[in-house]
Every structure is written in C-alpha cells, then in structure tokens.
Amino acid sequence: MQKSIMSRLWVFAVWAVIGLFLINLLGLIASVVTSSVATRWLGTWLPAGFTTRWYFAAWDEFQLGDVLWVTFQAVGAVVLLSGLLGVPAAYALARREFPAKRAVMLLLLLPLLVPPITYGIPLATVLYKAGLGGTLTGVILANLVPTVPFVVLVMIPFIEQIDPRTEAAARVFGANIFQMFVHVLVPMLMPGVLAALLLVLVRTIGMFELTFLVSGPGSQTLVVALYYAVFASGVRAVQSIDAMAVIYMVTTLVWLIVALRFVNPTQIVGRGKRPAA
C-alpha cells in the first residue's frame, strides 16, 4: 500500500478531530467532577482545596434520596414493561407474515422518528386530563412510548437469527406458546434481551423531555431534578449542583459500562459483516 503525504495528512487530520473531541469532552466532565469536590474555585487552574461536604449538602438540599428512589422505580418499571411488551411483539413480527404487518412496523417506527418534545406536549395534555399528570404512573407511561418500539426493533434481528426449527421442535414436544417462550426462546434470546433492556435503562435515566413534561413535584427523576437545579442556579452553591451532576453521571455510567460488556454498540442498528482479518 502506498503512503503518500496526502494520505498521511488525512490520517493525521482524522485523529486530530477525534483528539479534539475527546479532550474537550473529558475536560468538560473533569471540570464538573473537580468543581464538585472543590472548597473554593475562582480564577485559578485548580481549586483552593478539596472537600466532600458538597455531596452531603446536595443529598439534603435536593432530597436526592427521594429523587433516586423515584428514578429507580420509574426506570425499573419502564425496563420491565418494555421487555414484557416488546419482546413478544418482536417475536410475532419476526416470525409471522400477517396482513397488517407493514402498518404495524410503521406504527412502531413513528415514535422513534418524531422528537419526544413534539408528541410529549399532547401526551402530557392527555395524561393531565386523565389525572395521571405529575404522577409516577404518568412518568412511566410516557417513557414507554419510545422504549417499547425500541425494544421491538432491536429484538427483531436477534429473533430472526434463531433457527425456527428449534421452536417447531418445542411445539412438537407439546410445549404451548407460553412454555416455549419461557423454556426455549427467552434463554436463547437472553443476550439480546439484556442488551436491549440495558439500553432502555440508560435511555430512560437520561430521558429528559418526556419526564420533564409529565412529572410533578413528587415524580421528578434525577435528570429533571438536575435541570431544575441548574435552571434555578444562584440560589444554591454551584458545587452542590455539580455534586448532584456527578451522582447522575455515575448512575448512568455504571449501566453504560455494564451494557457495553454485553453489546458491541455497532451491532445495535445493523449486523455488519466483520472483516475477515
């Protein structure tokens, strides 16, 4: 392979862009983390001293115990329900040809193609009319709208990979559809289910718009509480907002790292053929 000056310059430029992106990103994260443990940080490279008291302050000021519990409940329910609704639907769509299949696929694609804020406003209006606005149930219902189609679309290729004769064998041996699901399909699909649900988990923790529009004082998740804290900054010490941001960051990062142990991120959208080498 020839290496001309142009191609070397090109490689260098690509790496420079990657480097620039990563340096700024890591700098951004590092400045939040540094600020959260700083005593006083004005006009210098590094703060005057380090302390952990902002974490305790943030915990009390923002009632983080309650907020985390709400987040845990909402995210847990969303993950569980989108798995229960999404995986069977993906099975039906992967295995059966039925008249309205294309319409169903379109119906599932729509919530992913329309920005959450667009359908979030009418959805919030309906939920408030139904008396569910501002409640935890409302937050869970609103978050299911993008996650269930997401699970279906991620699971369809996983299910198509499984040999249909496996299910036929299970049926021949007398398993009904429920038994076949529990004893045959779910164990074989476990990697895919885990991957899809972990991504739903990360997405739901970070889902701002829908939760923001639907939640009330008692049903704020961590990301919405963080937004309100930043929005109304000036009332509270900057460092305690940063401490809260770090807590938020850690909750999502833990799950992202777990998720990446199970999935190769590039397989989420398409199963590309790997180069043979």
């Binding site: 790496w15 990103l25 099975y91 039925f98 959805l123 919030a124 990062l253």
Partner: protein, 300 residues
C-alpha cells in the same frame, strides 16, 4: 394441540384458516404493543390535533393564524432549523471519516466507548458542564490563553454557538454509531476488488463506498436531525432562550406550561411535527435518486 388434531378430523376450522394467513396465537402477541402505541402516541396526537383547532378565540384556525402572523412565534422555525441543519450535517461529515478509520482498527471498543459517553451524559449534564468548562474562567479559555491563541476569553455561552457546541457533543456519538454500523456493513472484498483494479483511496470512496452508503447516511441524517431538532434543555441552559436560540420547543413549552394554553401548545407541537416530517420526507426522497441494492456483495 388438541384443537389442531380435532381440526384435522373435521376439515379446516376458522383457527386453521386464520393460521394460514399468518394469524395465530403468536401473532396476537403484537397486540399489547400496538394498543400501547395507539393509546399513548396516536390518540394523544389526534387529540392534540383536534385541540389545536379549538383556540381560545373560538375560530377554527385561530392558533395557526396567530403563529404565522407573530414573528416571535414563526421565527422559531427558522431558529430551530438554523441550529439543527448545520449541526446534523457537521456531525455526519465528521462521523464518516472517523468511522472509516475506526473500521480498520483492531481494538475499537475503548474508542467507541469514549465516543459514546455523551449519549449517557445527556443534554442536561453536557450543558451544565459547558457552563464551567467554556466559562470565562474555565479550562477551555485558560488553556487557549496559556498557549497564546487568545488574549481575552471568548464567550460561547448564552448564544447560538453554545447550543451548537452542546448539540455537537451530544449528537455526534449517535451519528457516529449509526454511521459506523453502516460502514462496517459493507463487504471489505468490494474495496479490495476496487483496489486491485487500480482505484486510489479517494476513487474507492467516491465510486464504491459512497453509493452504497447513501441510503444508510440518509437514515442517519434523519435520526440525528430528530435529536438535534428538540433542543429544549441546552437551548435554555447554554443558549439565549429569549433571542437567538428561542427554538420552537421553547415556544411550545411556554404556551403549555407558562400560559396554560394547551390549544396553542398543541398547535405549535403539530407545526413542529409537520416541519420535521417535511425534512425527513425530503431527505428520504433524495435517497431514492441513488443506488439501492445489496451492500454485502453477491455470493460466488
């Protein structure tokens, strides 16, 4: 099981005739999911559409007339597009060469993990961090001044560029992941064949990869555009929510939760959806002008 055996004795039952058309117990599993989307997505949308035609002044098109006569309202469309279009295009243009580079690497996982980080951070945290990092005393300005590139701190916050940067930071990983999966989906033997026939890197990209990538890039553009289009948190936190970055989602939010005019808010949401769908349809329409076919190469 027993129903099937009985059916065989008596000729095709209703159940068997349905099964022949692909409808049986398993097909019904799709119903709860469809019901959820109908109830929580389609119904609210139609409800919002109806509500948008029942404005406070009683006329049918009152909300829409108000929106398109008030520059403070209709201007938000252009402000949104002025942010979302360049950001999406820039993200796509950076993502393609990086994806081509990463494709050749043996250890992709660490780099992809790092590049994916901002997805989990979310727009709120990125905006929060930007307030520090790009602030007048932040590390960004400090480093540039120490190197001598700047004499006074530049201010990117509270304006167009603040939102622009935050959208690039949060939007790039998603664009990159999609692009990478499309790029790795192209059979490398196609490139080898082109190289054997004497095509240089630029010609290989132009003649082999680009035509195969166009459909995927069109979809990537649409999905990234959707992300950049709803920019509420960053437009408020690091932008200028009353001026340069008063995007359409801010207008909709204010109508709903500050003026409590749900009819107007629904009308704005409908306009927002319509504009966004127009862009998607236009991009996907352009896609059909290009090559469509297998990207994996024929089996010999």
């Amino acid at each position: 099981m027993s129903a099937v055996l009985e059916g065989r004795a008596e000729g095709p039952t209703l159940r068997q005739r349905l099964a022949a058309r692909g409808i049986d117990g398993a097909t019904l599993l799709v119903l709860p999911c469809v019901a959820l989307i109908l109830g929580l997505f389609i119904y609210p949308f139609l409800y919002g559409l109806m509500l948008s035609f029942e404005p406070k002044d009683g006329s049918l098109f009152g909300n829409y007339a108000r929106f398109f006569s008030d520059p403070f309202l209709y201007g938000t469309i252009f402000k949104t597009l002025r942010l979302a279009f360049p950001v999406t295009l820039l993200n796509l243009l950076i993502a393609i060469p990086i994806a081509f580079r990463v494709r050749l690497m043996r250890r992709q996982r660490l780099l992809t993990t790092l590049l994916v980080l901002p997805i989990t951070l979310g727009t709120v945290l990125v905006a929060e961090g930007m307030l520090f990092y790009f602030g007048p005393q932040g590390w960004f300005n400090r480093a540039l001044m120490a190197v001598g590139l700047l004499s006074t701190p530049i201010s990117v916050l509270n304006g167009y560029w603040g939102v622009f940067i935050s959208l690039v930071l949060t939007g790039f990983p998603f664009t990159f992941l999609l692009t990478l999966s499309y790029v790795t989906g192209i059979d490398p033997s196609l490139e080898n064949a082109a190289a054997t026939l004497g095509a240089g890197p630029a010609a290989r990209f132009r003649e082999v990869f680009l035509p195969l990538l166009i459909p995927g890039l069109a979809i990537t553009f649409c999905l990234s555009f959707v992300q950049a289009y709803s920019v509420l948190p960053s437009a408020v936190l690091v932008g200028d929510p009353a001026g340069a970055t008063r995007v359409i989602s801010i207008a909709a939010y204010q109508a709903a939760f500050e003026e409590y005019d749900y009819s107007m808010a629904s009308a704005i949401a409908m306009i927002m959806g319509a504009v966004q769908l127009l862009v998607v349809v236009a991009v996907l329409g352009c896609r059909s002008l290009f090559y469509r076919g297998p990207a994996a190469g024929a089996k010999g």
